[in-house]
Symmetry: C2
Subunit: 497 residues, 2 copies
């Protein structure tokens, strides 16, 4: 093998990563502390750097170099994977004529602004023409790839390689079949008291408790900071530089905690990727479903267990004696697991969450196969919420306009949110056979659980796709049965069904 | 004039500015919130971006373009100035052979690390060989410019265009002649009671008071944020994105306030530069002396006046009733203006400050003309402190190693600190004839004073050098007599001499 060619590739990859580091940091800064009046200047300069990165990424000499490398039979597996993944992403960009690419980028900015205005003004008709055009743009842009698969399948594959409508239909079919009856049964069961979660919880106390939680989950400021934003997120610059954000809600004791545990799941994933993958697609190319599997695993499969709170609840009671002093641990744990149909996906409980995603998946599918028009989609939305969850939104802002994704052109992304929860369930099933998760949670050994995730999942980054890694870890292909069983067991016990 | 050439220049300038924005942000992030363990990765990527910017800046085609533009007789004045300034800076870099440039950059990093270790270990001998080599490097690097002026003169000119040893000798000569006797007289006068400034002042209260001060000085978070760092600084990304930092000292009521007012002086300067200069050398090329004139003007000539505190002291007393409730305004104002010889430059009072700078200037001059060796410089340092201020340091950390500048190769920079104070005095002399500064301070119209500075100084950025702008504003060349008179009047009154 020609080591010199690989060296050239590595040098180029490092340069691309340098722009990525700067662009990520500019975005984190913007979302957290940047003075608002400077945004025009910063955006203009960030766009220039994006452009320089784009030129570097799409350099034809580099495409030739990658082709040469991939033609070498003795190229090591890891190198092959990282060059192949990179090449695929770049080819998908390079097929788009530059004028179309530029026009789409500009349209996407306008579409985002239209979505934001529509949401503010609670008026879907402001956004509808943009959504219509977004779909046309997607068809056009994906059309250049000249692939035999339906456009929506290609979009699904971009966010979760290996997934398509056939598989998602089966997955969401199972959700409908098994979860909808369970949701109905829970609705008819005796409600669980949880009003004590929504008293006045001063933010200073919540922050004090957050320190306890960060120590408990082992998040160390030397490699991970925490900041505040309206919409919490995680940004990973490299294995040793993770930024997670949270939002404190004064009348909700658990929102910030679960949000932080969720984001720390993303953070740990990228913290634990093998350090030598830093700056490569093996680091930053982890699929959305895999990402979400780890955040939801931490939030729900660890964070909402009794064992987690056995280790932490006394401290929470100490900080908020008036609000929680008389609430026993069991009542608190039941309360943070209550299920009831609500309108907002990001605040949905574990049981109804996949139905929120199912609705979006069915809408996206229909928008692309032409069976659902963008006109009147706000009504279609409400009809589906009514049908599946027995509720509907009086306002478009709380309904079809609640999520930014479509406005930004993220179509085919939503399904990975439910997929992630299902992947997590399958991982957890295996993990619980290998280590005593509850005992570790109870005794303050949360990081031992993270160590299991690191060794089995995290360290590989995107070296394997979701189905490959599931096979390696659990011994079988993706199987959503674990997810349904987990939810059935959990909620039947919780609601004594 | 060929508009097209100018357009090409502007495009190039914007690209250079894009890298600068990213590099500044990476630096601010590093100094404030970045996880420490990520520094290796970030530094490596920042170095790559620096390299890309360097290639862009030193592109020979651009040098040709600048030459063509500068040869046009009808090139407008502002354009000429910004292209000339840029060209000069780049030429001074381009004359250095690349291998020397790279070796020096690496040496500088090592030298900084050596300085830091020397300071930690309180051992000048760890740093001495680096200082010696730094001077050799400076001679070598400046040698490539092939100019007739002495090397140290060229270095002085880099930080404050138009200044040289002849002028600084005259300036510091005046300081010696007039300030040393005054410092002695103050030492022998009745001491002013100021111990109440150094009681326990909880940081929470200091932060509350800081909000009052920020409102009073008109710093608005939409264009200027405030963060905390060990060593306060200001970073200006563009006119509408300024980052200032401060440090709260629990047993010092005024340290954070004066530091913030100081940094806000830098911040206002760059906030008020004409917006169309954003991203050009007219924005970011303001000389060190001019920069310091505005920060010191705000800190000392405004912030330490009785009028400033007439507007704010009651609030400070309200927050700290136990510590300051019985301290009258006059006593407080006298206390924050106390002068006594101390070891640390950054904490020196207004009167002794220029002497700290004088000592560094005389040492730098001697190091370059060969009359002072690096060997034993810690002892030479102490002898000069003993001679001028009657004190000397028992430790190198508090003496010769206190400042980072020489370790980082910033030689010729120190003199601008004292120069800035003197320039400020000359500006203030004119300003006080044109507006009623004390009345504006007393009545909460601080920003009207800033408006005067904006109209007379800030808006020009680096369109004029210090001496030109002094001439425009005050009608005469730089005249340090105003500075000495200001200090004499102030301290003779304060100490009833």
């Amino acid at each position: 093998m020609d080591k010199n060619l690989l060296q050239q590739y590595n040098e180029w990859e490092k340069r691309v990563a340098a722009y990525q580091m700067a662009l990520s940091l500019i975005e984190v800064d913007k979302q957290t502390v940047a003075p608002s009046a400077g945004s025009r200047y910063r955006n203009e300069k960030a766009a220039i750097l994006s452009g320089e990165q784009f030129s570097l990424r799409t350099d034809p000499a580099q495409a030739e170099l990658r082709a040469k490398l991939l033609a070498m039979p003795d190229l090591p597996f890891e190198d092959r994977r990282r060059i192949e993944l990179t090449d695929k992403k770049i080819r998908n960009t390079m097929v788009i004529p530059k004028d179309v690419f530029v026009a789409y980028a500009e349209f996407r900015s306008n579409s985002f602004v239209a979505w934001r205005r529509a949401k503010q003004e609670n008026d879907y008709s402001v956004f509808e023409p943009y959504l219509k055009q977004m779909i046309e743009y997607k068809k056009k842009i994906y059309g250049y790839r000249n692939r035999p698969e339906p456009i929506y399948d290609q979009m699904l594959d971009d966010y979760e390689p290996g997934m398509d409508m056939v598989q998602y239909d089966a997955f969401f079919g199972l959700m409908k079949e098994r979860l909808l009856p369970l949701i109905q049964a829970v609705q008819q069961a005796k409600p669980i008291e949880d009003s004590f979660l929504y008293l006045d919880y001063p933010v200073a106390g919540q922050k004090e408790f957050m320190e306890t939680i960060l120590r408990y989950i082992g998040v160390d400021r030397s490699w991970c900071y925490q900041n505040e934003t309206e919409h919490p997120f995680t940004s990973s610059l490299c294995e040793n530089d993770i930024r997670i954000t949270t939002k404190y809600v004064p009348n909700n004791v658990s929102a910030a905690v679960f949000s932080t545990v969720h984001e720390s799941g993303h953070g740990y994933y990228t913290h634990n990727v093998a350090p030598e993958y830093d700056g490569t697609v093996l680091y930053n190319g982890i699929s959305s479903g895999m990402q979400e599997s780890q955040s939801r695993l931490c939030e729900n499969y660890l964070g909402r267990t009794k064992a987690f709170w056995e280790a932490n609840y006394a401290q929470l009671q100490r900080i908020f004696p008036e609000q929680l002093g008389n609430v026993p641990l069991d009542d608190y744990v039941r309360a943070v697991n209550v299920s009831r149909p609500t309108l907002i996906r990001t605040r949905a409980d574990e049981l109804t969450y996949p139905i929120h995603v199912l609705i979006r998946y069915e809408l996206e599918k229909g928008l692309f196969d032409g069976t659902i028009p963008t006109e009147g989609l706000d009504r279609t939305w409400n009809e589906m919420y009514q049908k599946y969850l027995g509720i509907s939104s009086l306002t478009a802002s709380q309904g079809i306009l609640q999520d930014v994704h479509w406005g930004e052109g993220l179509i085919g992304y939503f399904p990975t949110y439910a997929l992630g929860s299902a992947i997590a369930a399958q991982f957890v099933h295996t993990m619980r056979r290998q280590i005593d998760v509850d005992e570790l949670l109870r005794t303050g050994h949360y990081t031992d659980i993270i160590a299991w995730l690191r060794e089995n999942i995290h360290k590989y980054g995107s070296l394997y796709n979701a189905r490959e890694i599931l096979k390696r870890v659990t011994g079988e292909d993706f199987n959503p049965e674990y997810y349904v069983e987990y939810l059935e067991n959990k909620y039947k016990t919780l609601y004594a069904l």
